[in-house]
Symmetry: C2
Subunit: 342 residues, 2 copies
């Protein structure tokens, strides 16, 4: 570690982004409502509309393995993870550009199937790929997606609006992504059928766009983020950017079946896996106190998206806590998946 | 070649883009005025405005060499080549996102200087980096830039508007980029002073944004493109997309000094180098017959950008020709730099 003390590998992705943000943000014009540091940039438009902009680079063997995923799935997934970032702001995806670094021996059929997957995933949200760029001779397949989206200015949900007293919720199940990853790592593609839903969640994430859009329109949420980097990391992003504390109750977490198996393999618990594992594209959000459960029930049924209350927002000075199933409180630490530190 | 007959390496970048375009474009909604296939996508906005969107992925040792370029210059260059694409549509850059694939041992200082270069290049055009994404553990440094821009709908200049009888012009000098490349290849960083301007053009391209914006406002040009892929390739893009032929006169090309040296080294001529060499960020454009030289002179002085008439647009059936200095006509072929076929 000491030898590399002046290299980027000594800093996590989030710390490097912080440094970029400090370098860039002080000169932003007033139309840049949010630059770095949220799920997407927010740029003021006319007539109370904003444009959302985000991007995500995925590199073979770092973010995906070609022996685990079909080209068509890979294309869908690359778009889905970006749509999730737009959804986490309460927005709708509109247009995407795709930059590809292509190894020379990539089969043409792979290429066509991947592009078709990208197109189909976008079409589900009435969104379109309008441009791109190809670079040949890459050692690994590189997929970089730029996604634009739209939202009404008053409906954008950032990471910074949570207040003490807000209730903390998550959509869907927590830990499916990491569960799918461990399934494929242990069994390859011949995994037992009981793990199929974990693998599906990992390879074919379903961005919660309809839910994100609805909760934004209803103005129920004060802060929102997707948990692609892991619940712990992403919850702490909300806490830091909102200037609040939090209490997360592990026993309330909605877990998929089968996590115990993989937790045992690495000497961990299913709770740890679920809290710190990445590659889940559920939405984590805080709800202001006035919103009634009946209103939330309506949102759940209208969006067909289950939600679970998993904690509450505290004043900053009360700190960040994780309540274990045995009742013991420990400090909540960011051990979420950081693509940068391996 | 036969062994790889079903891989992407058998197809040039342009042919693969054609295939993507055919796959994607048929479902575009009316707001997508131009999708794939021009310097930037053009999306309709409100009030007669359009948004321009483009991206460009650059991979270490494929598009740049770290022993040739300083981190600050590299950052500037990555933004400049994208701003050039916006300029080629007659637009102004507005916002960019930057995706970086970072090798673990990249020095933090390199990273900071590169970001500063990016920021400074954007600031020259009153444009801003508002987001990005970092991926660690990459073998090579990967820089992918997404650039948004704006233009008035009626002023956008595409590749498809050239008509027979139009005059063909280019800004600045042709062949500086390839000249700079060969200078560094032959001499490394200790090149003779007389080649400094070639190296500067190669490492520090100056996007012709002011000129592109002005010629768009004056409605002089019928088609425009930047010649980053090489004059021959990019001229043929105009011809194909406009459905016209062309006659290019080699002896009229405005060449920098020093190309002869490198042409001799590879058994070529300075004309060939200039016509087919890439990495130049000048604008190639067609001017409709009614525009007078005095009007063009005004544009030249207002933008402080020299231009040279280098040929004329023909009817499609008359074909694409290159007139050599000895008066001989040959078919114009696309031998421009294609980043995909090495």
């Amino acid at each position: 570690m000491n030898k590399l003390s002046n290299t980027v590998s000594n800093f996590g992705e989030f710390e490097l982004i912080d440094r970029i943000e400090r370098l860039l943000s002080k000169d932003y014009p007033p139309d840049v409502l949010i630059g770095m540091g949220d799920d997407a940039a927010v740029i003021r438009h006319k007539d109370g509309q904003v444009q959302l902009m985000t991007c995500d680079m995925q590199i073979e063997d770092r973010h995906f393995r070609l022996d685990w995923i079909e080209p068509y799935q890979l294309g869908r997934r690359a778009m889905a993870v970006n749509i999730s970032d737009i959804a986490a702001m309460g927005g709708q995806p509109t247009y995407a550009l795709v930059s590809l670094g292509l190894p020379e021996k990539l089969p043409l059929k792979f290429f066509k199937n991947m592009i078709t997957g990208m197109k189909d995933q976008m079409a589900e949200f009435n969104a379109f790929i309008v441009g791109g760029n190809l670079a040949g001779g890459s050692d690994k397949l590189i997929i970089d997606v730029f996604m634009a989206g739209k939202a009404a200015l008053g409906e954008v949900i950032t990471r910074s609006g949570a207040n003490p007293g807000d209730r903390l919720f998550v959509s869907g199940l927590v830990g499916t992504g990491i569960g799918g990853y461990f399934t494929l790592k242990q069994f390859g593609n011949s995994y037992p059928e009981k793990y199929a839903s974990l693998v599906d969640a990992y390879l074919q994430p379903k961005p919660r766009q309809v839910f994100g859009r609805l909760i934004a329109q209803y103005s129920f949420a004060t802060a929102m983020i997707d948990i692609s980097d892991g619940l712990s990391s992403d919850l702490l992003h909300i806490c830091e950017q909102s200037g609040v504390g939090v209490e997360l109750e592990l026993k309330r977490l909605p877990l998929p079946d089968g996590l115990d198996n993989f937790a045992n393999l690495i000497g961990s618990t299913k709770w740890e896996l679920a809290v710190h594992g990445g590659d889940s594209y559920e939405l984590l959000f805080t709800v202001k106190p006035g919103v009634m459960d009946t209103e939330l029930d309506l949102l759940v049924s209208e969006s067909n998206t289950p939600i679970t209350e998993i904690g509450r927002i505290l004043p900053l000075e009360e700190g960040n806590w994780i309540v274990h199933p045995d009742g013991k409180k420990k400090a909540l630490e960011a051990k979420g998946w950081d693509h940068f530190v391996s």
